[in-house]
């Protein structure tokens, strides 16, 4: 069959950098899927090009058949007994089927199926011209492309990430016109796909990976020429890769006097504001940068001069701020915090730092921390927000904390205090870095708890995407930091203490607020625990309590690691059976067992087992060895309880005996479900 090459080019106004790779993948995947669906053959994968730049998405595929494959399909009609009468003459129904399918009655055939004899026809469809099919399917593929954000630019209703300027569809020697909103077909003279691809490749580096390699080489060459560290900011490289389509390079320079600025400030100015690469030698920044340029007609000398002057103007600005900020003692900013509102109903930033001081002191006490570390943390809490009134943070809000740390160090505070200030906003999201230092971690959890309690205390609700105060981020950060540093805190005490520090500022009554904060933190633990199997295990563990966040994660981890084991299933069975029988109890079950009332030998045996193993199991729980505790529990109770249930009736008529037996069941149940997990929540426990 005749074959031709195919090319689709979407010319679009500059796309957001992060959209381009996913768009190319989607275009390629969807296109091949549709070709398969429509029975159009093509040269499998080899010689396929899916490439693009900031303003061009291109898809090329070799040897696509000029026609769809012919297809043949069976269509089943009415049963034979309805379609033909006893004499074998066609009935109204039979003729109707033939007519509806556009065939003569002679063409009807009979087929034996499981349900009897039925009429059927073979419907042959001639393969259509590929060009017709393409014209039909391409608009749908383009309209179906998904982006994080789309827009309209005219009133055609078409949405895309940025305005589509034109589309070009080439098939063999033909240029195909397609109907897509008001988008026009690109004006090119007759040209074949391959030749067009060659032509485009001469003016742009189309392939993202090739282009990235080329840029990497340019940067490394520049690094070599400077004798600098061979380090490349990969995120910036990926970004720049989609800002340029014909990369060039130059090394720029700035006045050495700016090197007195904190590194973070220099890096932000270069990488974020100008998208140029900072350069360091032996880990220290040089007064140089590497810029990747776009286009080949540039006057590089003039461009370079502008880049340098613009960077220096920005750095001049930062230097001015830095000098201003460090002119006066850093601690003097403390006073200004009294005028800085944390939140209208929650008082000033100064008050916040006072609360943080007390709250982090409380955390230190609970963790048994003493001495200089405790002093450093207290000091860090006091100074934690002072950088908010500095010029530098006014200019670069993202440097809050970072600048506080740098200024504290310059002001002679201890490195531990400086580190704690620097790290206390971390993490900024679930994927972000966590505080490295213990001091930073303690300050971080105190700050986050103070935020959560304050905002929820004002009556703010978090729902779905609506979280203007970042309560979700704070709660998740709190949990992550606690887990990461194994901070053994009782969440309820922590919450209570934090609420107390707000005095009468909060709208919600403390008991209600405490329940809300606890509930919200539990909800976030559930979220952060991720995909744990069996699914119900998460609920079973969290229902038992997450007052100690570290312990909750330990229990989750240990139990899910043995959830396939026999002893786990046996333990679960014990909890399930005792739980079921307790559910049926109509009266209040007493807490204690009366030995006098144990009549049957089997129930006395169960009681003996309980009395004999209780301390050992609780000991293991104390040691947080949940794997061994589960094994001991299963070993102790599974068999004997099995026998017990087979032979002893719990719900006897005599009330005292009945309640005593239930009390025994309750003891056994609670020994596990109160401390480790309520395994009765796991459905269909089968011990094989």
């Amino acid at each position: 069959m005749k074959k031709s090459d195919f090319l689709l080019e979407i010319n679009v106004q500059e796309l957001p950098v992060s959209y381009i790779r996913p768009a190319l993948e989607q275009l390629c995947r969807d296109f091949l899927k549709v070709l398969d669906e429509f029975n159009i053959e093509y040269d499998k994968k080899e010689n396929l090009v899916s490439a693009g730049t900031k303003d061009r998405l291109l898809f090329y595929i070799k040897d696509v058949s000029a026609k769809q494959k012919d297809s043949c399909r069976e269509i089943i009609g009415p049963p034979k007994r309805i379609a033909f009468d006893e004499k074998g003459k066609i009935t109204k129904q039979g003729a109707g089927f033939a007519k509806a399918q556009g065939v003569e009655p002679e063409d009807l055939r009979v087929k034996t199926t499981q349900r009897g004899e039925y009429l059927f026809i073979e419907k042959k469809t001639k393969g259509r011209d590929t060009r017709d099919v393409l014209r039909e399917i391409i608009p749908g593929i383009i309209e179906g492309m998904r982006f994080p954000k789309t827009m309209k630019w005219d009133d055609s209703g078409l949405r895309f990430a940025r305005p589509v300027e034109s589309v070009l569809v080439l098939f063999g020697k033909d240029k195909l016109e397609i109907k897509l909103g008001k988008v026009l077909s690109k004006k090119v003279e007759s040209i074949e796909p391959k030749a067009y691809l060659r032509r485009v490749s001469k003016e742009t580096l189309l392939d993202p990976d090739n282009r990235k390699n080329k840029i990497r080489k340019l940067i490394l060459k520049a690094i070599s020429s400077l004798g600098a560290d061979r380090h490349i900011d990969e995120a910036l490289l990926e970004e720049v890769n989609f800002l340029v389509d014909w990369p060039g390079v130059f090394v720029g320079e700035f006045d050495k006097k700016f090197l007195t600025l904190p590194e973070e400030v220099l890096r932000v100015s270069m990488a974020k504001h100008q998208r140029v690469f900072p350069v360091s030698k032996k880990g220290r920044l040089l007064n140089k940068f590497i810029a990747i340029t776009n286009g080949r007609s540039l006057d590089i000398r003039a461009v370079k001069k502008n880049y340098e002057k613009i960077l220096e103007a920005r750095l001049q600005d930062s230097l001015f701020f830095f000098d201003e900020d460090t002119k006066k003692p850093f601690t003097e900013n403390l006073r200004q915090l009294k005028d800085l509102i944390f939140q209208k109903d929650l008082g000033s930033m100064f008050e916040k730092t006072q609360r943080l001081k007390t709250l982090s002191f409380f955390v230190c006490e609970k963790l048994g921390l003493e001495g200089s570390l405790k002093k450093d943390i207290e000091r860090a809490a006091e100074l934690s927000k002072t950088d908010l009134v500095t010029h530098m943070v006014g200019e670069f809000p993202s440097l809050q904390g970072v600048m506080g740390g740098a200024y504290a160090l310059k002001a002679g505070e201890t490195p531990e205090t400086a580190a704690a200030i620097k790290e206390h906003y971390l993490p900024h999201g679930t994927e972000d870095m966590l505080p490295k230092s213990l001091a930073g971690s303690i300050l971080a959890v105190s700050d986050k708890m103070d935020n959560i309690v304050g905002f929820l205390g004002m009556g703010v609700e978090v729902s779905g995407s609506f979280d203007p105060f970042g309560i979700r981020r704070n709660a998740q950060g709190l949990i992550q930091v606690i887990k990461n540093k194994s901070l053994r805190l009782k969440t309820d005490e922590f919450i209570e203490h934090s609420i107390g520090l707000y005095g009468d500022k909060l709208k919600l009554p403390s008991s209600e607020l405490k329940a809300r904060v606890t509930g919200y933190i539990e909800d976030r633990i559930d979220f952060l625990a991720g995909d744990i199997r069996p699914l119900e295990l998460k609920k079973a563990v969290l229902n038992t309590g997450c007052l100690d966040i570290v312990d909750a994660f330990n229990r989750l981890g240990e139990l899910s690691s043995i959830s396939g084991r026999r002893d786990f299933l046996e333990a679960a069975k014990v909890v399930e059976r005792t739980s079921n029988i307790l559910k049926g109890a109509k009266e209040k079950v007493p807490e204690d067992v009366d030995e006098e009332l144990l009549r049957e030998e089997l129930e006395r045996a169960v009681w003996k087992v309980y009395a004999g193993s209780k301390n050992r199991i609780e000991g293991l729980i104390e040691k947080e060895d949940y794997v061994s505790a589960t094994r001991e529990y299963a070993d102790a109770f599974y068999k004997v309880l099995h026998e017990f249930f087979d032979n002893v009736l719990v719900n006897v008529d005599e009330e005292a005996v009945r309640l005593n037996r239930l009390a025994l069941m309750k003891k056994i149940n609670k020994l596990y479900s109160d401390r480790i997990a309520d395994l009765a929540l796991i459905p269909q426990i089968v011990v094989k």
């Binding site: 500059e14 630019w153 005219d154 880049y307 920005r314 001049q316 800085l340 930033m349």
Partner: protein
């Protein structure tokens, strides 16, 4: 490159955009943060009718004041605003031609369109587009409006906002705004430095917080009352006043990060009210 003065840049842009069919209007006589606040943009971008306009809009952003010490940033500056509705597909090319008209050789210098999703939370306005970088200096904000006054738009306007100082810096090759030539040897600094220093002091250190808090409440009340009486333009003028008072409070450090959303929400509600009223008339 011919070194145009500040005044010449404005007049070249006026010539260029009126040549493109834009009606040249005069600046709004009120304190606003950007050219978008001008009724010629805010209201005119709402309905279905075609509209092309261009104008200079002196703008104030109190938090951006730097006591005239910063070479790139001021609390008072000039925007050159262009609004075109509906948006022709070649609008980007037309924009590049406007740079050529200013004597910028866009082949020799690097022009980048860097993703920037523009948003004015106080106006309930948002759009998609870019910052335009000329040799890494941001000189223009280029936006396709999607929403104005909280209303999803059917007819899309394209807004092109030149930072006039930035454009001049590039053209005059002076990266300090105060050294720019305004006209006939007079510098930008001679005309603006004192103003800039005093307003920075005022915004950051002197503005009476209590008075501004009271003003905000009064302006909000007046805007609502006027809207109820169907007076769109006067109501809107009080929205702008409330917005500016909020910006001063913000600069004065009287509004915390956590409180900002609420103030902004209140202004947005007023802006929405005005947009709805404008459309029903």
């Amino acid at each position: 490159m011919e070194k145009l003065t500040f005044v010449e840049v404005i007049s070249k842009l006026n010539d260029f955009w009126s040549g493109q069919g834009c009606t040249l209007v005069q600046p709004l006589d009120a304190e606003v943060g950007a050219g978008t606040f001008h009724p010629a943009t805010f209201f005119k971008s709402l309905g279905p009718e075609s509209w092309k306009t261009a104008y200079v809009q002196p703008s104030r952003r109190p938090t951006d004041g730097r006591y005239a010490d910063n070479p790139l940033r001021m609390q008072f500056y000039y925007q050159y605003q262009v609004l075109v509705k509906p948006t022709p597909l070649d609008i980007k090319e037309t924009y590049l031609k406007s740079l050529s008209a200013l004597g910028v050789d866009t082949k020799k210098h690097e022009v980048r369109f860097v993703e920037d999703d523009w948003e004015s939370p106080t106006l309930g306005a948002s759009g998609l587009g870019w910052e335009v970088w000329l040799d890494s200096l941001e000189i223009t904000q280029f936006t396709y409006f999607q929403q104005i006054g909280g209303k999803e738009l059917d007819k899309i306007s394209c807004e092109i906002t030149y930072g006039l100082e930035r454009v001049c810096m590039f053209i005059q090759n002076k990266f300090n705004v105060f050294e720019l030539e305004w006209q006939g040897g007079v510098t930008y600094g001679e005309l603006h430095t004192k103003h800039e220093i005093e307003y920075s002091k005022y915004n950051f250190d002197e503005a009476d917080i209590d008075m501004h808090l009271r003003l905000f409440e009064s302006f909000e009340k007046e805007a609502k009352a006027l809207a109820e009486r169907g007076l769109v333009y006067p109501a809107y003028s009080f929205v702008l006043k409330a917005s500016h008072v909020f910006n001063v409070l913000d600069a004065r450090g009287a509004v915390s990060q956590n409180e900002r959303p609420r103030y902004i929400g209140r202004i947005r509600a007023l802006a929405k009210l005005c947009a709805e009223l404008y459309l029903t008339k």
